[in-house]
Symmetry: none
Subunit: 199 residues, 4 copies
């Protein structure tokens, strides 16, 4: 345990937590495991984080923040220039790929019935709103329709794809590249080629 600086320590903790939470779930992961994996003293975790919840929340806040940056950074390119759709999707997926584990945790926690976490919705809302703000209609009914459409036939499939990719290829024992291309085909033939509600 080299006396790394604050930033490093926190990064290590978050990295270990991310890995473990996505592997065993939030409640299935003990702070002990995290400190062990991060190579830091357990009490130090409580020096930097109020409690265990604070760790996940930190993870979630981080991804929300990074997504914001990504969205605002790419929005100009994405929406105004003429970039082939599949290309931009692929790029987006690369971005999401890195966040795979956190997204997985986010989904797990959002599935719980208590209202503790709804980051999954929060996140979806952000992404979708940023994407449809161009052709936004002031009609709230219409907006709801679009939201539902984007969420269930766009956001959710993509997220599942990201989250389940590895597990899928393992379970069905198939080639990753082939799998990706299959998914993109299907996605193109459904969500991407569908006429949006209200358009």
């Amino acid at each position: 345990m080299p006396k790394g600086n604050k930033e490093d320590t926190i990064r290590n903790i978050l990295k270990a937590a991310e890995e473990l939470f996505s592997e065993k779930g939030f409640n299935g992961t003990s702070v002990n495991m995290i400190s062990d994996k991060a190579g830091v003293n357990k009490a130090l975790i409580y020096y930097y984080f109020k409690d265990k919840d604070d760790i996940v929340n930190s993870l979630f806040e981080n991804i929300i923040h990074e997504s914001d940056e990504y969205v605002s950074g790419s929005s100009s390119a994405l929406n105004h220039e003429v970039i082939p759709l599949q290309d931009s999707i692929r790029e987006e997926m690369n971005f999401l790929q890195e966040k795979q584990k956190i997204l997985s945790i986010m989904l797990m926690e959002s599935l719980k019935g208590d209202d503790s976490h709804n980051y999954f919705f929060k996140c979806a809302q952000k992404v979708i709103e940023s994407e449809i703000e161009a052709n936004i209609s002031s009609d709230p009914q219409e907006f709801q329709r679009l939201l539902v459409h984007e969420f269930f036939t766009g956001f959710v499939p993509i997220m599942s794809f990201i989250i389940f990719k590895d597990k899928w290829c393992k379970y069905f024992d198939c080639d990753t590249d082939q799998f990706i291309s299959n998914f993109l085909d299907s996605f193109s033939n459904t969500h991407l080629s569908s006429k949006k509600p209200g358009s």
Copy 2:
């Protein structure tokens, strides 16, 4: 503690477990909570179930079994008779609606990185295979394509819809019926109207 018979006791336990697991997750639920909610003595749970895992697995086996029955019971009707698609979808959804909580648990557990549970895939596989067995092609490549297509643009959206329905309406504060109809529209315009790979 009404001395119900064996069946009743087990049913109570499973019902309580289902509710709690879906509310707090498997690891977030203690056996104590289950026995309390089920109104049975804690030790009795261990009389009927080997351990806590045995409870979830029982839940999963049950749903797999019921799905089997549902699928084989309806397959003739679904595929060979001329039933409007949306109608059959609605019927299927009613069936799934009852299983909402177990499906939620199944998804949560399947998201974990360790290979403890892949009931979600197992279940998807069953459903999808039963649906495509008619126009099944012997080409494994083709089969993979279909599988991916059905899973990510069919199964996953529907499951998410079932699982997130209540949470969605609560979070976005919207009317349930409107929401359902919105979803069905979108689903019709994407998955249902897409040309299947290989066809």
Copy 3:
């Protein structure tokens, strides 16, 4: 650890807690110490008591309850028959002597600034009210005077005497009997021979 019955186990826990709390204070005593001293499994303590606080409170409730019984049981004798005052005081002290440790804990906790425990006042109030109810005057001012008088020149000296007896004799290295008789003399010459306010 003979599998004693419930009553015994609880008694053991409370006895151990009483001893330890009075020896080291509430916060200075760990539940581990209690379970060790009581010879029971630590988790068993949490089977019978909600938390550590519940243990002290149980101790306090017990003594309040026993005091009630003592007061109501002796009130007839104490107030209506002609018993020499010093005798009744001595008897009362024997009763209190047994409760020495709990009284000590009660005082300690009541000294804390937060309003968590005011059993010391509650207890005093009970005792004093029972003692003055005979010559109670309906004048609240007068009642306050009596209360103050009884508390600070009666209740407090006696309590201190009970609580500090052993420590005093140890610290000043003096004979217990002599000490007791000295105290009783002084108490007779002050509180007992004073004219009560309002009389």
Copy 4:
């Protein structure tokens, strides 16, 4: 963190500790709380104080020292000049009032059964001896009598009065001035008007 000088820092620490110890007890107060409240770095506390114990002890030594000064400064006036007793009592009380919190801590700690602290006795001894040294008799028996008398009917009631004043008025919801005057009346009618043992 104003870089105050050494004296200031120590004063701040002690002040914070005094407040917290009296509020939550010694064991209920963490060094963190103290450093927070004092507005100094936690490690700095360990620069000025050997350990946590050293803080309380410092508090106790201080009050012992101040009491010494007070006693020796006022002794001539108190005992030899003709000052009305109640006046001198009132003055003494003003002095004690400021020390209320430390006295409270002192009492709490002295109540513990282990012999860690007997500052309460030490303090009482000092005060009482200074008060009776005039009419001290060489007879040790007599001295014991006087000590007991002064302690239980003089020192203890006064201390309790000081320590419980605020809590009393809060609990019984009564006027402070009225309370003080009630106490002084009672105290005059008991301790102050009693014939001292041996006189």
